[in-house]
Symmetry: C2
């Protein structure tokens, strides 16, 4: 069990150092990290209950968290329950008054930190409750706690990575000419669930690129059937105890030409270079640069069209990002993806992605699935 009391103590210290009297976190990975209250599976269209804007918790140094939950979330969306007490806001309650009372119960506050995705509706109620307070982003306070994973977190994330490794192996024989991307993605999602994943950590992508079509990586899934002569790229992840994995490989269907082989080798070499560069103290931007250089040197730099990766944990994308604008130095225990690609519509599509942990000598994969070229006839 994570030592959440200890996490809350560290949070209180960090709040004090930042001059923050009060913090509000909505239902989020931050809140799950600190209290164990789990997020619900996401929905495409918004789901909302009466007084939903109150959902979350206030944190203040020296006080237990004060949680507020709409009755419907409390009764239906938390089958595993949670630790601590909560103010349950019922349909006929005055939600604004309940929220105001909770916010004011902490006394005068000069500076309030907000989880970065707290709803504006909540912020407006907060400004009405404690007018004149300065608002700051809670991210610089909470993210540095979350981005270094302890041994237990690494073990959980390794399990999440193990699931995608197994699924990739089991799905590979189905990646043949005539198969539909939609059917393959359905089976990927289902296999992950059968192996214990709560849900997909993000929308599974299965897409074909090569000389045989004009497809770009922007269309992550389609109901078209795989034609010979394409690379089929995968992008998917599982969820174990709230922790996400994120994984990618490309399988060629048909007989790969020399360009595909050249690009494939360059992308795998780029990932390996990124891992070697990922030593403590190296900046995220430098890892991006070390990865990118291999693809640039192979002549395909123009087609590596996105950042090299991103930290990962309870969220799929966490700061810091392994990207040219991010100067954060890596630290031992940081987990992030290295996911170079070459996506050139009508020509070639190759990607690889694994979750990497920063260690003294460089990056180590939490995945074990090989990166050798896979070709299905």
């Amino acid at each position: 069990m994570p030592d959440r009391a200890r996490r809350q103590e560290i949070l209180a210290q960090r709040m004090t150092e930042a001059g923050v009297d009060l913090m509000f976190l909505p239902i989020s990975a931050d809140l799950e990290y600190l209290t164990g209250l789990s997020r619900r599976v996401m929905t495409f269209g918004n789901v909302e209950y009466a007084h939903h804007f109150v959902a979350g918790a206030f944190f203040a140094p020296g006080r237990p968290p004060l949680m507020l939950l709409p009755r419907m979330i409390y009764e239906f969306d938390l089958p595993d329950g949670f630790e601590g007490d909560a103010v349950i806001v019922r349909e006929l309650d005055d939600g604004a008054a309940a929220f105001e009372k909770a916010a004011r119960s902490f006394g005068t506050t000069g500076k309030i930190a907000l989880g970065p995705r707290t709803w504006a509706e909540t912020v407006i109620h907060l400004l009405a409750a404690v007018p004149g307070t300065e608002l700051v982003d809670a991210e610089p306070i909470v993210n540095p706690m979350r981005r270094i994973k302890d041994a237990e977190e690494l073990e959980t994330m390794t399990r999440a990575c193990c699931i995608v490794d197994e699924v990739m192996g089991e799905i590979t024989p189905a990646v043949v000419a005539g198969a539909s991307e939609l059917d393959i993605a359905r089976d990927v999602d289902h296999l992950m669930k059968l192996k214990g994943s709560r849900t997909a950590s993000f929308d599974t992508g299965v897409w074909s690129m090569g000389p045989g079509n004009s497809r770009d990586a922007t269309v992550r899934i389609s109901d078209s059937r795989i034609e010979p002569g394409v690379g089929v790229s995968f992008d998917f992840g599982s969820v174990i105890d709230g922790y996400c994995s994120d994984f990618g490989r490309t399988i060629f269907v048909g007989e790969p030409d020399s360009r595909y082989r050249e690009v494939y080798d360059a992308v795998m070499a780029a990932q390996a270079a990124g891992m070697r560069a990922a030593t403590p103290g190296t900046t995220a931007a430098e890892v991006d640069s070390a990865t990118r250089r291999v693809i640039e040197d192979a002549g395909y730099g123009r087609w590596f069209r996105h950042r090299t990766g991103h930290c990962i944990g309870l969220d799929v994308h966490e700061h810091p990002f392994i990207s040219e604008e991010d100067r954060t130095p890596l630290e031992v225990g940081m987990t992030f993806t290295i996911e170079p690609s070459v996506f050139s519509p009508g020509v070639v599509g190759v990607r690889v992605e694994d979750v990497i942990v920063c260690e003294e000598g460089g990056g180590r994969k939490l995945n074990t699935y090989p990166v050798t070229m896979a070709v299905n006839d």
Copy 2:
């Protein structure tokens, strides 16, 4: 094609009436309604790109919308593109400066309305850009536009309802003793996609309740196998052109006893009563009350544990809610669910849900699937 220019004109009028100079909407159903910029499929763990907080658009009367998009969203997440211009914020750009410049380009603003789920991170940047401005919720300005559906929207929503009707019919023979809820849900989701649904509108639920187990409706899905003597409740929806459906039925597996039959009849009668009550001018709370009374009179009021329904459209749950706290009068063209249930763990579980449109004489279902009792041996 929706007349989005007209929608933007109406928005400008409503902003002026509300004394609002400027509105910011993040990527959301509101923004899709006004500009056609589609939302991405949702993810369990947060997905985030550099400068992601800028994503959305400013609206001011007499000016075209000013859209801001991180490069990664612009290049990878909008395969269908969008109408109008956008400021693209690239990785090495100063995102805060770009956002500030956009916010200030509208001149002095006394009151700014924010989409209710705008990120707090965005709000903090906005307060820095235009200090001293009053912030208000955009919901009372935009929601009344969205909640009345025009003929084209009703046609789209009917298609979304037609898909779930077809899927329910096709999946019914698979709901037998020994089948797994997880397998059934997989096939529901896949069938919806094969019929043109972009994704599930929310997490599909398939759960068994009855004397044969102690299950509650809070556990929406499990990997357990269906045992004879349970009602298997379904809750799922599709997405067509951004519009959501939301649907429910219960199938009994085995030989239903007299209590199940009594409860089943009461739940269906409750829905019918709710539909009859749903005339223009009737309040949402009165529809809730008319529906609930039938179940209370049958002696199961304690086990109807949630609101009767909610409006639905580009989001799954839209205001007003068909719930005791909501005094909004219905209007012709409003679309909402009526979804009574009786969930008594270890005893009985029955639910029904359809999308209803308010018409002069009462509610009319957009679904056509029957509510007659379904029993599988």
